[in-house]
């Protein structure tokens, strides 16, 4: 009797396998599987390896150039996805991040321009000579402030007006895109200062993405903020009854997401050496997709930064895999769409199984 009691109440034993097999492992396996498929197709269709170096040109066994491309092309959307992950875990959604990137990039770039190009006045000068040749800190601060402001508005709308996050952030998506176009009446802004150029130069996007991923992984796991984010997404009423200031916390979560969109805007415009009103279109959906593929549950409460990073890598592998196989970009989008739906279906299926009991 005494021993049977140790195995739970009412004779229902605890299924310990659930805890030892974290969801991230499934995502990692999916990533390896997809790489394997491309590896196989590469040998069959192209007669060369996808990920490994077959030419013995470098010391590494990997095709480093491809690895770099895979990570580099997802790191900017990945930065956004770190914020979006937190919003979704808290039970919300953020559709505005792509537009916030566009607007923040335009505004930041207009403070990052050089006054003269090859001895002539900068032809794309957005604000006049007073805003030219400023220290790099100015455009960086401006972009972060804009992201912060957009996030606070998102969060306040969601927390205090009671409208669904989908609608609140949809409004911000349209508004911020409007700001991006209005800023220069649609003209692109180019020729950034030397200092601004270094922010997104070379592997900087990857380094920034990696650093932010580690930072927010630790924040979600080891701080009160992280615990409350999961709690609100998993049972908002319980969180409120436990004395968590739910509204204030939501504002903070959307604020961080906005701030990260600001970071992405800086890196993107610096890397591209220009800002355009159409920058970041669809980024919000890519970021949501990365999170969902990485196991973040759209119903809130579940997911992790590790999962989202793996989801981002799956994204990168698929894009460069299709390029490697010389398949049209159209196929990329079709497959991407299919994978997003499959990830959500899987999540729903897992949840229903969990609801039926262990």
């Amino acid at each position: 009797m005494a021993t049977s009691n140790l195995h739970g109440i009412g004779g229902l034993a605890f299924d310990s396998s659930k805890r030892r097999w974290p969801n991230e492992m499934n995502v990692l396996l999916a990533l390896i599987l997809i790489i394997g498929i491309f590896e196989l197709l590469g040998h069959l269709m192209m007669g060369q390896s996808f990920l490994f170096d077959t030419s013995d040109r470098s010391a590494s066994i990997f095709n480093e150039q491809r690895l770099r491309i895979i990570i580099l092309q997802v790191s900017i959307v990945g930065i956004i996805a770190i914020g979006v992950t937190q919003v979704i875990i808290a039970g919300g959604i953020d559709l505005s991040s792509g537009s916030v990137v566009g607007a923040a990039a335009m505004i930041a770039m207009s403070f990052a321009q050089v006054a003269e190009v090859n001895g002539n006045a900068n032809p794309t000068l957005a604000l006049g000579p007073w805003a030219a040749d400023l220290p790099v800190l100015v455009p960086v601060a401006v972009a972060l402030l804009f992201g912060l402001l957009a996030g606070i508005i998102n969060g306040a709308l969601v927390a205090y007006t009671g409208i669904p996050p989908f609608i609140a952030t949809l409004g911000m998506m349209v508004t911020a895109r409007g700001v991006a176009k209005w800023w220069t009446a649609g003209r692109p802004i180019s020729f950034p200062t030397e200092g601004y150029r270094t922010v997104g130069d070379g592997l900087m996007p990857v380094i920034i993405f990696g650093a932010l991923a580690i930072l927010f992984h630790l924040v979600l796991r080891h701080t009160v903020y992280g615990k409350h984010t999961y709690a609100i997404g998993s049972n908002e009423d319980a969180a409120r009854m436990s004395g968590i200031k739910v509204g204030r916390h939501k504002v903070l979560v959307y604020m961080i997401a906005g701030l990260l969109a600001g970071v992405a805007a800086i890196v993107l415009s610096s890397k591209n050496l220009t800002a355009q009103a159409g920058m970041g279109v669809m980024y919000e959906l890519d970021a949501i997709a990365m999170a969902v593929i990485g196991g973040v549950s759209l119903s809130g409460g579940r997911g992790s930064i590790v999962g989202t990073v793996l989801g981002a890598l799956i994204f990168g592998v698929i894009i460069s895999g299709f390029t490697f196989l010389r398949l049209d970009a159209y196929y990329q989008e079709m497959v991407k769409g299919g994978i997003i739906v499959a990830a959500v279906v899987l999540d729903q299926w897992r949840q229903r199984r969990a609801a039926w009991g262990p």
């Binding site: 739970g8 109440i9 009412g10 310990s16 805890r19 009160v224 997404g233 049972n235 319980a238 004395g243």
Partner: protein, 259 residues
Amino acid sequence: MTSSNTILETVGLTKHYGGVHALEGANFRIHAGEHVAIMGDNGAGKSTFVRQITGVEKPTRGQIIFNGAPVAFENPMEAREAGIETVFQSLALADELDVPDNLFLGRELVRFRFGPFSILDYKAMRQRTLEALEKTAVKIPNLRNTIRNMSGGQRQCVAIARTATFHSKLTIMDEPTAALGVQETTQVENIIRTLKQQGEPLILISHNMRQVFDLVDRIVVFRRGRIVADLKKDETNGQDVVAYITGAKTGAEFQDTAA
């Protein structure tokens, strides 16, 4: 009338939702070490009463005296800090979090204070969770297990253990076994008996007559927002209580209020 060992007393506690008089002039008292049941039909005002004394809602009128001093809780957290712990009908657990996380939800122990980014002290929370589970004789096989993966009884036990973690002065349970199987119900009832042995006062809201007569010292009956009876368990029986619940009878001292 307030004796020194009164834990909680309400005087004329009233709650109106617009025109609906959900609670009308409730005079209630619970003493140290006492277990009191609140019974009544659905909509009789039991849960409304609990919401007033736990700070979930603010009463329209009336006074709450807790530990000898009048209190007016602004929110559940204040009631909890004062020492009133509630196991709500809706359980108020976060499904995706594990046992210590839920026990300390909203009052996490931290190693390093830095606003919302304070660093959690998992080790201390785990330790105190184990102590609380021991105190309530609750057996949970794996603390790291999320609530989602637990049975209804385990969930209820976690919710109850939460009240024990913080050395509450008064525990309130709102239909703790309503959704449980026979074995799980027994387990929860054993925990309630443990609390009784330890002298922890308890308000139990229940529809289960057998359970009430098994566990408590006194039964307070609500009907249509009013208290209509205050019965010592030894001086009453199930039939009597049902008569009060359905309105066939009204306690002599409550005749004037419960028209």
